[in-house]
Symmetry: C2
Subunit: 358 residues, 2 copies
């Protein structure tokens, strides 16, 4: 049997509550589809760990993760004890960068049973993938403050784009678009305002796009693109964007499907030189933690993406993914429901209901 090594990092807040349900479902799928998951629980990369050790991770975190195929990740952040920029740059963002998880893949999909905030849209109308660059771009701590603390203060913030980093995400998105029925790729840009990096980014999109003649490429400024996520969601198939634009679009997209509480994500190192990381988009949600009411679907769906990625090329993983997604679909349609969707089921009950169907 194929065996995959998984590090389980529940992290903070509702990460701890949704993790067991995610695990329940992926284990059920593994059993059914005949592969093995060798799981290890890790308590660092969390604010609890920080409280005890004054840092988010042990110094030898990379060694401890040697040989691991994937990180199954709950959420990080507990602003009461650790400021967000410390906890995030000390764990999640560190994983993305040091494990070169340069693709952040975020499916957006409208389900039956989830009230859509857009009028007149039905399942099938909203079904696209956001491919976000995940290691560079606008997320940096480069720059500084001049005349600090005075009236004359000036702040410089630098964004950094490499051809290496840009081309590979554009290629990934083009390949992905080519593999889909509609073969349509939207490229987010803002070349009319951000005058150095974005015209350059457009040029790279043109250059890479030339190698994919079967893919239609449509460059759109981020302002009007955001508007079209609301006004014309059916036009999207694959959407590729820089780190910041991808961050925005991958919250906005799920919002148009009713809730960001269901949105999963895959932080991929497609070459498998490093482990990839799979996490719900929702974060640690301190306000609802401790009541066992969090919706575990984003965690479970992220687990499905994990199985698909781990077994790529083998039929079993895709089948496991599709089966889990089918179970999610069925439960969203028929219940039980957690409180965010108008029901009374607990996190655990929902996990069990989905696992049962798998």
């Amino acid at each position: 049997t194929p065996t995959f090594r998984i590090a389980l990092i529940a992290g903070d807040g509702i990460g701890k509550e949704v993790m067991p349900e995610g695990l329940r479902v992926v284990l059920a799928a593994a059993e059914r589809f005949g592969f093995e998951l060798d799981c290890r629980t890790i308590d660092w990369a969390s604010c609890d760990y920080h409280a005890e050790h004054g840092q988010m991770m042990p110094d030898d975190w990379k060694e401890q993760l040697r040989g691991v195929d994937a990180l199954y990740f709950g959420a990080v952040g507990w602003p009461e004890t650790v400021p967000d920029h410390v906890s995030l740059w000390g764990s999640l963002l560190k994983f993305r960068r040091e494990f070169d998880q340069y693709i952040n893949l975020r499916p957006v999909r409208l389900f039956e049973g989830v009230p859509c905030p857009l009028a007149g849209r039905k399942p099938g109308d909203i079904d696209y993938l956001v491919v976000r660059e995940n290691t560079e771009g606008e997320y940096t701590s480069l720059g500084g403050v001049m005349y600090e603390g005075t009236e004359r203060e000036i702040v410089i913030q630098e964004s950094v784009f490499s051809r290496h980093g840009t081309d590979r995400v554009l290629k990934y998105a083009c390949e992905l678009a080519r593999s889909r029925k509609r073969r349509h790729l939207t490229v987010a840009t803002k070349s009319n305002g951000i005058a150095i990096s974005m015209p350059w980014w457009d040029g790279r999109a043109d250059a890479i796009g030339r190698d994919y003649p079967g893919v239609t490429i449509d460059k759109q400024h981020i302002d009007i693109l955001s508007a079209r996520f609301v006004l014309q969601p059916t036009r999207f198939d694959v959407v590729v964007a820089s780190n910041l634009f991808g961050d925005i679009l991958s919250d906005l997209g799920p919002a148009t499907t009713g809730t960001i509480g269901l949105a999963p994500s895959a932080n991929l190192n497609p070459e498998r030189k490093f482990p990839s990381l799979f996490e719900p988009v929702h974060g640690s949600a301190p306000d609802i933690y401790g009541q066992n009411i969090a919706n575990p679907i984003a965690m479970i769906w992220s687990g499905a993406l994990m199985l698909d990625f781990l077994t790529q090329g083998q039929g079993a993983g895709r089948a496991a993914h599709d089966t889990i997604l089918g179970a999610i679909e069925a439960v969203l349609r028929d219940g039980p429901r957690t409180r965010d969707l108008g029901g009374t089921a607990s996190t655990t009950e929902l996990g069990m209901a989905i696992a049962e169907r798998v």
Copy 2:
């Protein structure tokens, strides 16, 4: 009679079609409310001018605009002949900067008669103001390309925030929030990812906010904030944002009200040291130009904002503004309608219908 000097710059594309209708309505309002508009038509700041002169504006453009109180501006951009970054940085963005129009004020409002893309929302549910910083931040041509044209290419793009520029937009937004019933201010940020400028921006928001104890201040990351524009639009009152974030939010907001075709904007130099500029958000729309079908409401509404600003402190301008807005409201409810809203009326017919009511 109070007299205001207005420069009329129709610009490109549908700018030329909506300008006469805007003018028709503001002149009608001026007559009714007893002030005079001394208008001058200007043909530069357009791509037509560029075709003839190889630049967007004459060298002495500032002198030519001396003594002008406001620019009433259609749209700029005709990518077939002039690349967008050239036409925009050569006119619109130049005005914003050199006339220090540091406030870009963009009202977002749902009207009766305009189908709302959000399910179950009615007029009154969406009614807020986006205050966008308009002169600095992410919109720069600072930075550069290293190893240009090679595989190793690296691009640096710099954003620049000054305390001067940041504090004044935050103050403006706080004052505005304080003048409203709900006294609520949302501050867009991304301090968890953009690690130098955004934590600093948060600090400035805290500092300025302390002087406005009656205003509730709510900082939100741009990703979740975008999601909430869709999911919880009723929670917003005044929203303040950097140049880029404000650009995105002020297209997304209007999209949630059914169309960005109605959205107006005011580019203000509140100190009146320089002329302010009033323009529809929609741009030159080459695809529909020449058919007299463009909806002139954004232009007309921008004209109402102009009258309000010009006569601030005097009753007449506010009354003129409110009257025009009332006429827009009535026409959106009772027709006629332009094609974008399902009708068959021309640009001219709509302008006349609104002018008549004024």
